[in-house]
């Protein structure tokens, strides 16, 4: 039974569905623009078109020039998948309406430019949370599908696309196809994680998850070294839906791999203190403090990051329990708008890989090397993935996944990352395309064994290569 219908018109629905109203300013400009990913590296120029309707989107694809077109949402991919040098980029943040909500089943249909932030604002008060959220709420539904994103609950719930029941895909020939995992599994799983290269996702139906309150009951464990951390992570996955470890990659010797492990579940009503029980599903979306674009490129370096890590590790009391908000638990960096600017104009690189659980020796060697060369990663996140996603180019696979970010000016960074690539390859692992900005094309097929299946689908639905991005050019996807 469809309980609420929100459409494009005036009133509450329109207000709820406008993404980024309290978030980062949407790029609303059209015309030639210099674009980068969130890491602010490799800028290229494309003609930006911002469709407001399906027809405008279809028109923008039909009139794309020889250098093709690619979709872009809120620009949170770190590297170059949402830019298209010399071609056209479709800014989909104008397709920002929540089309329907079924409060009985938790199924919500939203246009692709709707952000997860907007979905939370609209639906948390009704007791529904997004099935998967990454470390930021400011990603769009389209981007979440294109990168088949994962979150702290991957071991329990899988990746985003596994909760998408249907999507409307604008194809290269201008037709719109409704694709479900049942009706056309090949096109569906090529699109999930397909980096926008099969077509433009116009809208999708997502199965939201029911929650009793908007707070999380969190246990934080302070772990003195890598062994303790890996053991604890393996032991906690069954008890908590959400787990993630924040690791200090600069710690050495006996402190190597020390970390804070956050484990949480949505709190039940009776876990809330009395003062919050009146409004158990409150979701506050505080306007964010902005970061000025004034930071010198070398501000974050091994010294400053080592100090920050030390302070942060020491100030955290050893194992403790607390209640956290959605923003505080899932999206700590969203509190600071444009936080990527603290890396200065030179930007930074994210590197996330996964290796199977059996590769724990290699994994340890990788952490040791990062520590030994003192490569300063400000945010280092370790997590255990559950079973992989069926998406042909989906990143998650069962095993250890570590996400790191490095200032681009880090000496020897190229060599370190090439070495990490080799370790990942030797263990049959892979790196995450939504974060990639430098992988060598030769490594791609070994990391993504279903690449040929992906290419086959793409050749069928886009034989002339209308959908192109800087990343697809760089990696010869």
């Amino acid at each position: 039974m469809p309980a609420e219908q929100w459409s494009t018109g005036a009133g509450r629905g329109a207000l709820l569905a406008r993404p980024g109203a309290a978030g980062p300013a949407a790029e609303t400009e059209e015309g030639p623009q210099l674009l980068t990913g969130w890491g602010r590296t490799s800028p290229t120029v494309a003609e930006v078109v911002r469709p407001r309707t399906r027809e405008e989107a279809a028109d923008a694809v039909a009139t794309a020039g020889p250098r093709g077109v690619i979709s872009r949402g809120l620009g949170r991919s770190y590297g170059d998948p949402a830019q298209n040098a010399g071609g056209r980029v479709l800014d989909l943040t104008g397709l920002n309406r929540i089309l329907s909500v079924d409060l009985e089943t938790g199924l919500v249909t939203a246009e692709s430019g709707v952000s997860l932030h907007s979905l939370m604002r609209a639906l948390v008060p009704f007791g529904y949370f997004v099935p998967v959220t990454p470390g930021t709420r400011y990603v769009t539904v389209g981007g979440a599908i294109g990168s088949d994103i994962h979150g702290k609950n991957h071991h329990a719930d899988g990746s985003f696309a596994q909760h998408v029941t249907s999507l409307d895909l604008l194809l290269a020939d201008g037709s719109v196809r409704t694709v479900t995992p049942e009706s056309d599994p090949e096109l569906f799983w090529a699109t999930a994680g397909g980096m926008g290269l099969t077509g433009v996702v116009l809208a999708a139906t997502i199965r939201m998850v029911p929650i009793e309150t908007s707070r999380l009951a969190v246990d934080t464990f302070k772990l003195p070294n890598l062994d303790a951390l890996m053991e604890k992570l393996a032991g906690t996955d069954a008890d908590y839906r959400y787990t993630v470890a924040w690791m200090d990659c600069l710690a050495k010797g006996p402190k190597l791999g020390r970390a804070l492990l956050d484990c949480g579940n949505f709190a039940t009503l009776d876990q809330l203190p009395a003062k919050h029980r009146g409004e158990p599903l409150a979701f506050s979306a505080k306007p964010m403090a902005s970061t000025p674009d004034l930071f010198p490129s070398g501000l974050l370096n091994r010294r400053t990051i080592a100090i920050a890590n030390e302070v942060w590790y020491r100030k955290t009391p050893s194992t403790h329990h607390h209640l956290a908000t959605i923003g505080g638990f899932f999206h700590p960096l969203d509190g600071i708008r444009d936080w990527n600017r603290v890396y200065g104009k030179a930007g930074f690189l994210q590197y996330q890989f996964v290796v199977p659980f059996s590769a724990d020796v290699t994994f340890r060697r990788m952490v040791e090397r990062i520590s030994r060369v003192q490569a300063p990663s400000f945010v280092s996140v370790l997590k255990r993935f559950g079973e992989g996603s069926p998406g042909y180019l989906s990143f998650p696979a069962e095993g250890w996944t570590l996400a790191l970010d490095f200032p681009t000016g880090t000496p020897g960074l190229d060599r370190l990352l090439n070495w990490l690539d080799e370790q990942v390859l030797s263990e049959g692992g892979r790196v995450y395309l939504a974060k990639d900005a430098r992988l060598a094309p030769a490594h791609l097929s070994a990391m993504y064994p279903r690449l040929d299946d992906f290419r086959e689908v793409r050749a069928k639905v886009d034989p002339h290569g209308v959908f192109v991005s800087d990343q697809s050019r760089r990696l010869a996807l």
Binding site: V45, R67, D80, N84, G86, A437, R438
Partner: protein, 252 residues
Amino acid sequence: MKDALGSAQSLLILGGTSDIALATARRMAAAKTKRIVLAARPSERLDAAAADLRAYGAEVETVAFDAGQVEEHEKTLGAVFAAGDVDVVLVAFGVLGDQASDEQDPVAAAKVAQTNYVGAVSSGLVCANALKKQGHGSLVVLSSVAGERARKANFIYGSTKAGLDAFAQGLGDSLHGSGVHVMVVRPGFVESKMTAGMEKAPLSTTPDAVAEAIISGLRRGSEIVWVPGALRYVMSGLRHLPRPLFRKAAER
């Protein structure tokens, strides 16, 4: 496409037998550069350079290119871009001439200008426009400290480099924001085939050192690169030296 650390996948060299250009190409081929186009006048030397680079695993093609034939530039270089994106263009051709004899042979002197300046204006613009159209890429122009302040010992060559340097700087400004990056490289005295048999100048450098500086400049997105770096300060002093003193200093 260039990656986030400035590594290019494709390289076009104008003046494909230049020692500096080939030292740069070898380094890039050993990293991530898989397509290299050497544009130069056909010669055995050119074929040998191509073979050398192929040994690094790059696909190398040679294109017949003559800096003096400006009418042909659009066609010759356009075909290179039509075959695929070019991430880095290195404008490396140039002749030193023979100052003493060229002073007595104005036609020969004009040929130096024709190659070093006129040829670079034409081919540089062809490449700049193609890069702008593809929305990304770097144009690296080999200038020289000789253009910073003309000396009587090599002012014909120096003046062509001064013109080229000014041209490249202006081009870089006009392309700002277009996704295309222009980098001017100003080496000092480079020990290479061009200067074989000449007396070394202070702060001299090698093709390998220049190549290293080009690669780090590409990574940083530098607009002007001096090789060695100290020349930047030396030349800024020399530039302001009063003429009588400069004449004395240039005597050596």
